[in-house]
Amino acid sequence: MRHRSLLIITTAITAGALTLSACGSRDDKDDSGGKDSKTTVVIGVDAPLTGSLSALGQGIKNSVDLAAKVANKNNEVDGVTFKVKSFDDQAVPSSGKANATSMVDDEDILGAVGPLNSGVAQSMQGVFDRADLAQVSPANTNPALSQGDDWASGKKSRPFKTYFRTATTDIIQGRFAAQYYYKDAKKRKVFVIDDKQAYGNGLATIFAEEFKRLGGKVVGRDHLTVKETDFSGISSKVKSTGADSVYFGGQYPEGGLLSDQVKQAGAQVPIMGGDGIYDPAFIKASGTNNDGDLATSVGYPVEQLDSAKTFVKNYGEQHYKDPYAAYGGYSYDAGWAIIQAVKAVVEDNDGKLPDDARAKITEALGKVSFDGVTGKVSFDQYGDTTNKQLTVYKVTKGAWKSVKSETFKD
């Protein structure tokens, strides 16, 4: 343990020192870039590859890997071979930060995809920003990451120029969910629960605000703890408040149990959550009780988009051990956005990587625009995706079925 922390401190200090002196010392290696040998550009991936969210993390890793393979096969960027190097953050912010430091330290890494969790992203942003290394998250939805802590009061300002994402924010997802509950499902009395995490708490708060604004009533608000299993107390509160619906901000391991226990407590009401519960494991988590539960997720169902068919086919052909899961399409697009940015930079620089490749790629990312797996991929002035498509899914006979896809309107 002692050695390890020493190692981390040493890496952090070295990374800091390297960043400061980066201006003058990057060139010796890149000289070989434009000649006969191919330059290797590494895309770092940070995701939970172990732990209870690993199913999502593995999907992210594999999808970026696929993007790199496709780019190499098509010779997407002349003279450049893409490689993927993955880091496991176990959904823990401090591991994410250590991974970010390692990535910054690795000169071959010119862009990063990840992480899954907004809370982890928070700890990584600063590290990347100081090193000009671009980061594209396929799954973070917390608005503060791109629009600053004061986004709720309307004072938006982008805190980190290196941060981008291909998933829409919770401002859009939470409001979309509230509109669906109020307008389509005609719910009026909702009980709001979250898991106290950056993602869950933010999403639930945005949902509650919008639901109230529309004229609905929030009859109760409570929180549960991640990794616990007994939510019978909260569940009986749901029943006693007479709520006609529940909104849950959190992830599927707790969401599945909560849904089950709410129904066991005698409240026959649906639970809706965000993309964090949109996973088959939500249904598997608790027997048969969650028929009729709802989830919103960013984008249109990957299987329904024409643009996604090639992705699904290619993914299948690679025989990855894990499915692409909820964020596969976004991860592929995130990886592809970096590849496009590298392409733009290389083409602007006579076919080879410039000395300040990282900064140039970050700049180029803001301008990419292409038709991706999940639709049109480009970023606005905050680094957020311009794609505002969302879908509501419903548990029907033990599987998620899409019930409504729409582009979010104010």
Binding site: G233, S236, A285, S286
Partner: protein, 310 residues
């Protein structure tokens, strides 16, 4: 107030679960003064042992038929891991510095967790556990007991009664008490203390397996991480009740469960306390209670004051 009975029953079932796991902490501590932090994982492995049996049985087997077999499977898995841990991880360190086995226990707990994650098929996500058909029993209009909880509410007192009889009436049980009191003298009296220690680990493991089966039936799922929080809460229950005392473990569990349930439900309703209630604060209240109890009675609710050994 008409929801008080339901809240108490929720707390009681949760507490019985804590109590069953706490037995393992308390027995091992009572005899070797070791806090077996891997016990939460022994609990978790019991759940996977029971699930394995269910998977092996022909599909469609009625749960009532499968249940005894699952119980046996869970107990075998838990007891095997518990005794193996004693033999290979703790016994070599016996007599060494107190801190060494404690750190081994923490390491073992992580190793067991990751082993299940890596080698048990599909354990990377929560695994669904068979559940009883049908809804809950309605006792009164405002009191429901889930079918899964019913198993727990029967199993916990039965196990406790059996353990109580074993410890007070049987020869082995009395040898166990003697070893707990003074291992050296017990050895001089011809008691094989090594065997007694293995027995303590085995009994703790068996109770953990019963708890794990109850957990699976109650929540309909098990996962490789479930031992951590359950183990921590059960350890708290053991300390609360008086570590080393088997009845104390059960009492501590029940008290802890009920305090959590009441804290979620009622603290918000106290005027001026609406910010301090609900699910977010239940652990705060549970641990506040622990601190208060330990301040007033450092030996725990049922523990006896023991002089420090010279």
């Amino acid at each position: 107030m008409h929801e008080l009975p339901q809240t108490l029953v929720n707390g009681l079932t949760l507490g019985a679960l804590y109590g069953l796991i706490a037995i393992g902490y308390t027995m091992v501590y009572g005899i070797v003064q070791l806090i077996n932090f891997a016990h939460g994982e022994i609990f978790m492995i019991g759940g996977f042992g029971a699930l394995t049996i269910y998977i092996w049985l022909p599909s469609g087997t009625a749960l009532s038929l499968a249940l005894p077999l699952m119980l046996i499977g869970g107990v075998i898995a838990s007891v095997a891991i518990a005794t193996a841990a004693e033999r290979f991880a703790y016994r070599p360190l016996r007599g060494g510095p107190r801190l060494a086995p404690l750190i081994t226990a923490i390491g073992l707990s992580i190793a067991l967790q990751q082993a299940v994650w890596a080698f048990y098929p599909d354990a990377k996500k929560p695994r669904s556990f068979p559940q009883f058909e049908g809804s809950s029993f309605e006792i009164f209009s405002n009191l429901h007991i889930q079918r899964g909880d019913a198993f727990l509410l029967i199993a916990a007192p039965v196990c406790m009664l059996a353990l109580g009889l074993f410890v007070s009436k049987s020869r082995a049980g009395r040898a166990m008490q003697a070893t707990a009191q003074d291992p050296d003298t017990a050895k001089l009296m011809g008691i094989n203390t090594d065997r007694i220690i293995v027995m303590a680990f085995a009994i703790g493991g068996a109770f953990a397996a019963v708890a794990a089966l109850s957990h699976g039936l109650k929540y309909g799922q098990i996962n490789f991480e479930m031992g951590f929080i359950a183990g921590l809460k059960a350890f708290t229950a053991a300390v609360l009740g008086g570590i080393g005392n088997i009845y104390g473990a059960m009492l501590g569990g029940v008290v802890l469960g009920i305090v959590e349930a009441l804290a979620i439900k009622y603290i918000q309703d106290i005027p001026g306390m609406d910010q301090l209630g609900g699910g977010a604060w239940k652990d705060v209240w549970a641990f506040t209670l622990l601190i208060v109890v330990l301040l007033v009675r450092p030996q725990g609710l049922l523990g006896e004051r023991v002089a420090d050994r010279a």
